[in-house]
Symmetry: C2
Subunit: 355 residues, 2 copies
C-alpha cells in the first residue's frame, strides 16, 4: 500500500507488525528496530522524495564511499510518551541544526527540515505504539546519512542516503560508571572533526575504550590531544564537574560535540540557581579537588545516557572515588529534565515539540 | 559453478565478462571494477571460508555498525604485468601488516595472510586479463574490512566482512599538483587514528580539501594539529622535500601513515647515493628554502599517485612556485621504482611477488 501524503512523503506500510515479539521490559540498547524506517536519497544535486517503508536491509555496491572513506554522520534523539498518550520530541531543531553542521564538515549535502523533522514526525506518528509510557521508556531515534555513490577515489560522493530508524530503549548504561582520564589516546584533533557527529569519531575510540574496559572502566574522559591537560568530554556524553557548589563543563569547540543535553542542563541549572561556569577544567584541578574533598560530583550528559553519575575516575594509575552526595546536582537536573520530557512539569523553555 | 580449491576458497565464476566494454585507454581512477571480488565474513570469533564470486552489490541492515560508527579500514595496492605476461604484486606483506595494524587500532579482528595475500593472488589470477602490459597500466587492488554487525550502540561489532575488489587504473592525478600547507584544519590527532588506514581519516579531509580546490589547489599538506609548524603528509601520499641535495621526509608516527611507497623510495634513494634525512621539516624551513632558492623539489609518494611532483605550494596566502629541475630526484626515483614494478630491472630488494 503506497500513500502519497500531503507533504510529499510516500508511505509503504508493513503487512504486519513485529511489536508483539518485543519484550519492552528487557531491552538491550539499540538492538531492536520498529516496523518502519524513513529513507531519502540525494542524487543529481537534489533530495528525492522521502519514503517511509518497512524496516529492511538494502543493497550497496562494494565500492560505496561510506565503506572506504567513512562519509557518514548521524544524530541521536528520543521520543517520549506523555500520560495522555501524546508523543513528543525534545528540541528536534537542535539536532537538525547539528546534523547539517556535521554534513558541512564532512562535505555532505544539508537536509531540509521538511525531511529531517517533518519526515521524523510522520514516521513516529506511524510508530506511536512503539513509544511506551512511563519515565525511562523512550523510542530512540537514529537519523543518519551515508555516502552511497560508488568509486574508490578519495573524494566526496555525489550520492547520499538519509535514513531514520527507531529503536525502543531504556537507559544506555547499566550499573556504575567509572572512567579513565585519557593521557595518551585522543578523540579529536584541533581542526579535526570532533565537533561533528561523524561515524569515524566513534570507531576511533573503540580500541582505547577496550583497553579501559579491560582495566574495569566503562568510559574514557578525553583530554585535549596536544597536552592532555584539559578535560573535554566522554565518548557519547559531555561531562560536568561539581567542585564545591559550582558546576563546571568545558566550552564546546572544534574538538567537542555541542550536546543538546549539555546545553539544556546548563539552562536548567542556571534557572535552579546553581552556579554554572563554562570553562575548561584542568586534569590537575580535578585531581586536586578530589584530594582535598572539594570535588563533589562528576557526571555525563547525553541523549542516550541522560544524566549519568560517575562514581570514580582513574588518572596516572591512581583511582579517585567520588563521595556519595545527598540531593546531588546530577539527580536534581535529571529529575527536572525528565519531568519536562515526560510532561510531568510545564515546559517553560518551550523545548518540547508534539508529534 | 562452484569450485572448492585446494586452499579452501570457494570460487563462483561470472557467467560472462564485462572486460570488452571497458576502454582501458580512458580510465577514471577507481570507477570500474573487474568481474569478480573476494568476500569473507568474520562471525562467532572466526573467519569463515572466503568466496570469490561475481562483483555485485550486497545487503546490509540499516543499523550496520559501519554506517554509524565508521568501523572500516582499507588498503591500496597494485598488480603489474611484465612483458612475459606474468603478473606481480609489490611488497604485499607490507600492506597485509599495515592492514592488521589498522584493524587493531579500530578494534577489528586481524586477518591471516592465507586470506589477505593468498586470497588476493587467487582473485588476481582469475582476473589476469584485467592487468594490462605497459608502464602506467595497473590493476588497482582494494582490500577492505567493514563492520557488518547491527545495532546502534557505540561499541565494536562482533561481525565483519573482508573484501577485495579490483579496478583497472592508470595514474591517480592528472595535470599539475599545487598544494596548500594546512594552518587550521588537521588530518590527525596525537593519540588518534592517523597512522591507520581508517575510512574516517579520509572523509575528514574532504571539506578542507574542497576549500583548497576552490582556491585552485589539488591537495593539502597536513601539519601537526597542535602547532601547525611541522610538515606531515598529504591526503593520500607521504611527502618528500629536496633542499639542496638532501631529501627530507617526516618520520612516521601515530599521526602519519607508514607508506609503502615512502619506505621503498627511501631505500632506493639511499642505494642511489642520495642523501636522505628522515626528520620533521618545519613549515618555516620550507618557506625559507623556497625564498632562498635551496628548495629544489617537493613530491608526494603513494601507491595510487606513484611519485607525484608538486609544482608549488601556498602558505599564509603566499604562493611559492618550485623551480623546474633537470634530472629531478622525483623522476629518478619514479623511474627506478616503476622499472622494478614492471620487471624492467632486476629486483635486488626482493620486493616483487609473483601471482
Ligand atoms: C561525542 C558525544 N558527546 C556528547 C554527546 C551528547 O550529545 P546530546 O546531548 O546532544 O545527545 C554525544 C551524543 O549523543 C556524543 O556522541
Ligand atoms: C594518508 C596516506 N598517506 C600516505 C599514503 C601512501 O601510502 P602507500 O605508499 O602505502 O600507498 C596513503 C595511501 O596510499 C595514504 O592514504
Amino acid at each position: 500500500m503506497s500513500i502519497n501524503t500531503a507533504n510529499e512523503i510516500d508511505i509503504v506500510k508493513a503487512s504486519s507488525s513485529k511489536i508483539d515479539t518485543v519484550d519492552f521490559e528487557n531491552l538491550v540498547f539499540g538492538n531492536i528496530f520498529s516496523d518502519h524506517m524513513l529513507t531519502c536519497d540525494f542524487r543529481n544535486g537534489a533530495w528525492e522524495k522521502p519514503v517511509i517503508k518497512p524496516y529492511e536491509p538494502f543493497l550497496l555496491d562494494p565500492s560505496a564511499k561510506v565503506f572506504h572513506y567513512g562519509q557518514a554522520i548521524f544524530e541521536g534523539m528520543k521520543a517520549y510518551k506523555h500520560e495522555d498518550e501524546s508523543v513528543w520530541l525534545f528540541r528536534p531543531d537542535q539536532n537538525w541544526d547539528r546534523f547539517n553542521k556535521s554534513a558541512e564538515r564532512l562535505a555532505m549535502p544539508e537536509i531540509p527540515s521538511s525531511i529531517f523533522i517533518d519526515g521524523m514526525k510522520q514516521l513516529i506518528d506511524l510508530e506511536r505504539n512503539w513509544v511506551k509510557k512511563g519515565k525511562g521508556n523512550t523510542l530512540y531515534i537514529r537519523p543518519f546519512m551515508i555516502a552511497i555513490g560508488s568509486g574508490v577515489v578519495a573524494a566526496p560522493s555525489t550520492q547520499y542516503r538519509f535514513m531514520i530508524i527507531l529503536s525502543p530503549a531504556k537507559s544506555y548504561y547499566q550499573g556504575e560508571v567509572k572512567v579513565i582520564i585519557a593521557d595518551h589516546y585522543s578523540r579529536a584533533a584541533n581542526g579535526g572533526i570532533g565537533a561533528a557527529k561523524a561515524a569515524g569519531n566513534y570507531s576511533a575510540q573503540f580500541y582505547p575504550t577496550k583497553l579501559a574496559n579491560e582495566k574495569g572502566f566503562q568510559q574514557i574522559i578525553w583530554t585535549d590531544d596536544a597536552t592532555h591537560t584539559k578535560l573535554e568530554e566522554a565518548g557519547t556524553m559531555n561531562v560536568f564537574f561539581r567542585i564545591n557548589d559550582t558546576l563546571y563543563t568545558a566550552p564546546t569547540s572544534e574538538r567537542i560535540l555541542d550536546g543538546v543535553t549539555r546545553k539544556s542542563l546548563i539552562e536548567i541549572a542556571k534557572k535552579q540557581g546553581i552556579d554554572v561556569d563554562v570553562r575548561s577544567v584542568l586534569v590537575s584541578e580535578l585531581v586536586d579537588a578530589a584530594k582535598n574533598g572539594s570535588l563533589k560530583e562528576v557526571f555525563g550528559a547525553g541523549t542516550a545516557a541522560v544524566v549519568n553519575p560517575i562514581v570514580g575516575f582513574s588518572y596516572d594509575d591512581t583511582y579517585y572515588e567520588l563521595p556519595k552526595v545527598e540531593n546531588s546536582f546530577a539527580s536534581q537536573l535529571k529529575e527536572k529534565l525528565t519531568n519536562l520530557q515526560y510532561g510531568l512539569e510545564t515546559d517553560d523553555f518551550g523545548w518540547m515539540v508534539k508529534v
